[in-house]
């Protein structure tokens, strides 16, 4: 916004009100301070909500933090009946399914953003962009349902049997581990569905960021005889690479916290590390969703909330990183992310 605004800002209610009050007599100007106070209060309520959430989580997780210490992060199995509260399996599953999702979603998002920015007429771009954004509007549970009724049988009955006949079957990470159960409900399936859940977010932010590249710079490239791809890849993406990193972080943050679709599709194996993408596993969010309501022992509830706190902190870190990287693009291009 321009600096002209500052002039307007410098004189809120009071002086003007004072000037007005004289001709109108003894009318009190309370509207402005009240309104401003209300608005500020609501703004601060946002911050208060966040601190409240953090405080409640830490308070409830405290018995586990002090009682279990770092064992939560180093023990593999989540097995309350054996009094083992290890989140390593859940962390591994979260990480692996997110990686699968990113590997699929990021390149796809980038080429779609390229298309929307450089390859089509703006009105077509709006239609295509809206269609992709509709993916973001579809609730997680519907992704889970389509996943379980359509994707799972496909992967279990068609994809994995075929894959096992190819040389790829011996690649570590694809080769079935000891926990393999057909591959239908597995890290891979969860990752594939996650990819399409985060795709619209990465696409939207990448597109916005690529749009901010100054037209002059791009035209200079075209004027030199570059092809569209060369302008995109040597000019736009270099200019906006911080923003694209920011977009990836946003996608990462969303993928990490996704609960319902993953709960349906990942196989709910809490006690072993996955040795293959086609092994079942679990994620922190789905572990909490599936086991929270039956946690009877205080330490179990506390440990689950500690897991929630860990997930919360990871997503906060990624959000902040995303903000930082996006701000860099803002500064570079002079616009607002």
């Amino acid at each position: 916004m321009s600096t002209v605004e500052l002039d307007v800002q410098q004189s809120p209610g009071a002086p003007r009100g004072a000037a007005q009050a004289a001709p109108r007599g003894h009318r009190l100007r309370l509207g402005d301070p009240i309104f401003r106070g209300l608005a500020t209060a609501c703004g601060l309520a946002l911050a208060a909500a966040m601190f409240g959430l953090t405080a409640v989580l830490v308070y409830n997780a405290w018995p586990a933090i002090t009682g279990l210490g770092t064992s939560v992060l180093t023990t593999v199995a989540w097995s309350p009946v054996d009094h083992e509260y290890g989140a390593l399996a859940a962390l591994a599953g979260t990480f692996l399914s997110t990686v699968v999702a990113m590997v699929i979603a990021v390149p796809l998002a980038l080429v779609i953003a390229l298309l929307l920015v450089d390859l089509v007429h703006p009105s077509v771009a709006r239609v295509v962009g809206t269609a992709i954004e509709m993916l973001a509007a579809i609730p997680s549970i519907i992704f889970g349902m389509v996943g379980i009724f359509v994707i799972v049988p496909f992967i279990q009955d068609k994809l994995v049997p075929w894959l096992l006949t190819t040389p790829l079957a011996n690649v570590p990470g694809i080769k079935p581990g000891p926990q393999f159960q057909g591959g239908g409900v597995s890290i891979f399936t969860a990752g594939v569905v996650l990819a399409f859940m985060v795709l619209p977010f990465i696409t939207a932010v990448s597109r916005d960021v690529l749009k901010m590249v100054p037209q002059v710079t791009k035209e200079a490239g075209y004027g030199m005889g570059s092809t569209t791809w060369e302008v995109m890849h040597k000019i736009s993406m270099r200019y906006a690479n911080s923003g694209i990193v920011g977009a990836v972080f946003i996608g990462l943050g969303r993928a990490l916290g996704e609960t319902m679709a993953v709960a349906f599709l990942i196989g709910s194996l809490f006690t072993a590390l996955p040795r293959s993408l086609f092994d079942p596993g679990t994620s922190i969010a789905s572990l909490i969703a599936l086991t929270f309501s039956e946690a009877t022992e205080k330490i179990q509830v506390s440990a689950l909330i500690e897991l929630g706190l860990i997930l919360f902190l990871i997503t906060v870190v990624f959000q902040i990183l995303a903000q930082v990287w996006l701000r860099r693009v803002q500064r570079a291009t002079g616009g607002r992310a």
């Binding site: 199995a77 097995s79 309350p80 009946v81 054996d82 379980i148 009724f149 799972v152 049988p153 279990q156 009955d157 000891p178 926990q179 393999f180 159960q181 057909g182 239908g184 409900v185 709960a263 196989g267 709910s268 194996l269 809490f270 006690t271 079942p280 599936l290 086991t291 309501s293 039956e294 946690a295 009877t296």
Partner: protein, 378 residues
């Protein structure tokens, strides 16, 4: 300038209108439900049902998925005769125990009974409500319902991960003439704390102790397999994953037409799951000896026709009730279920608790459920 403020009122007003409309619809919806709420005819012989105070028109229960089909059917039947609503949430036995300990429900349901020490520590009363059978279900092309024969050792081997393919010699030996594929056995177990798991693992420990070493509890560290949520989830997973095997309460298999297996019971006889085989196992139970906790294990019972994975499902209530009306409403429902619910139970292949047992429960356990020292029942 004066009229222009109208636009900003629009949004919160619209939200308010939406909320009020929805709440009004919901309240009006009471009259649209299939059962009559006010002025319902009292169950004969139960004058205390009319008038029903507002706080006791809904009973909240949560827990085991094992008896859930029956409890829900009882709930809607009871609603028709008394106007009292039963909201039963199938969240697993672990969830039921957790909920009743947190006092967020009027009763919890669990197929994994608590021992006397734990009951006392949490101030809970426990009593059996129903008996049912757990069966193995498989998803195999070309295998008919009740055709496949499995022994406890083979089942234990499958769930331990030592028997991995359908054409393993141990399975083939038991099933000559059945075409078994060479594909991997996909194992489905419970992901949540489950009384059905408790019953199933007690069976494996008792009948196949040399093979099964993973223990017996609501939740165990499964050597292999994927997890499904609730009996519902295990049944759904077995339906969806070809070549899979899982364990569910019988109603889930029968009502969905899934393929069940035969098992060999303690007497060495091959039995198919049926209400008669569950009842034969339940007949051996000495409930009097199990008081005051009514803790009872019914797996692997002797008898020619007994189904080896039979179990009872229990109700847990707080001994010290906060609200007399709600406690009474719950016990009245259970009384109705004991006295009039047998037909619904039989239709879903559950074995109803016989009169001599429930009278024992009503005389020995229910008086411990009190409000400020006064029993809520009768």
């Amino acid at each position: 300038m004066k009229k222009s403020a109208r636009s900003w009122r629009l949004v919160p007003l619209a939200a308010a209108a939406l909320a009020i409309a929805a709440l009004a619809l919901a309240v009006a919806g009471c009259g649209g439900s299939s059962a009559s709420d006010a002025g319902a005819p009292a169950v004969p012989g139960e004058p205390s049902l009319t008038p029903v105070p507002m706080t006791a028109d809904t009973i909240l229960g949560a827990g085991a998925s094992f008896p859930a089909p029956l409890y829900m059917k009882w709930g809607s039947d009871y609603n028709s005769v008394s106007g009292v609503k039963l909201n039963y949430q199938s969240i697993g036995s672990g969830g039921g125990i957790s909920a009743i300990e947190a006092k967020t429900v009027d009763f919890g349901a669990s197929d994994a009974p608590l021992e006397q020490a734990e009951l006392e520590a949490n101030g809970l009363a426990q009593f059996p409500m129903i008996v049912g059978g757990t069966v193995l279900v498989v998803n195999l092309d070309g295998v008919a319902d009740g055709q496949l024969k499995l022994t406890a050792d083979v089942v234990a081997g499958i769930f331990m991960g030592t028997i991995t393919t359908w054409n393993d010699p141990a399975i083939v030996k038991l099933n000559p003439g059945v075409k078994l594929p060479s594909t991997k056995i996909n194992v489905v177990h419970r992901s949540d704390g489950s009384g059905t798991t408790w019953i199933f693992t007690h069976y494996l420990t008792d009948a196949a102790g040399s093979v099964w070493t993973a223990g017996a509890d609501k939740e165990i560290s499964w050597p292999v397999g994927v997890g499904g949520k609730g009996n519902e989830g295990v049944a759904a997973s077995v339906q969806q994953l070809s070549g899979s095997i899982g364990y569910v309460e019988y109603a889930y298999a029968k009502q969905t037409g899934m393929t069940t297996t035969q098992l060999q019971n303690k007497d060495g006889q091959w039995v198919k799951p049926s209400i008669a085989s569950f009842a034969a196992a339940a007949a051996n139970a000495d409930w009097k000896a199990s008081l005051p906790s009514t803790y009872m294990v019914l797996v692997n019972q002797p008898g020619a026709d007994t189904w080896p994975i039979t179990g009872a499902s229990f109700i847990l209530m707080q001994k010290d009730q906060a609200d007399a009306a709600r406690g009474k409403a719950a016990l009245e429902f259970f009384n109705w279920a004991y006295t009039s619910g047998a037909d619904a139970a039989t239709a879903l292949d559950y074995v109803a608790i016989p009169a001599n047992v429930y009278e024992l429960v009503q005389s020995d356990v229910w008086p411990t459920i009190t409000v400020s020292g006064t029993p809520v029942w009768p």
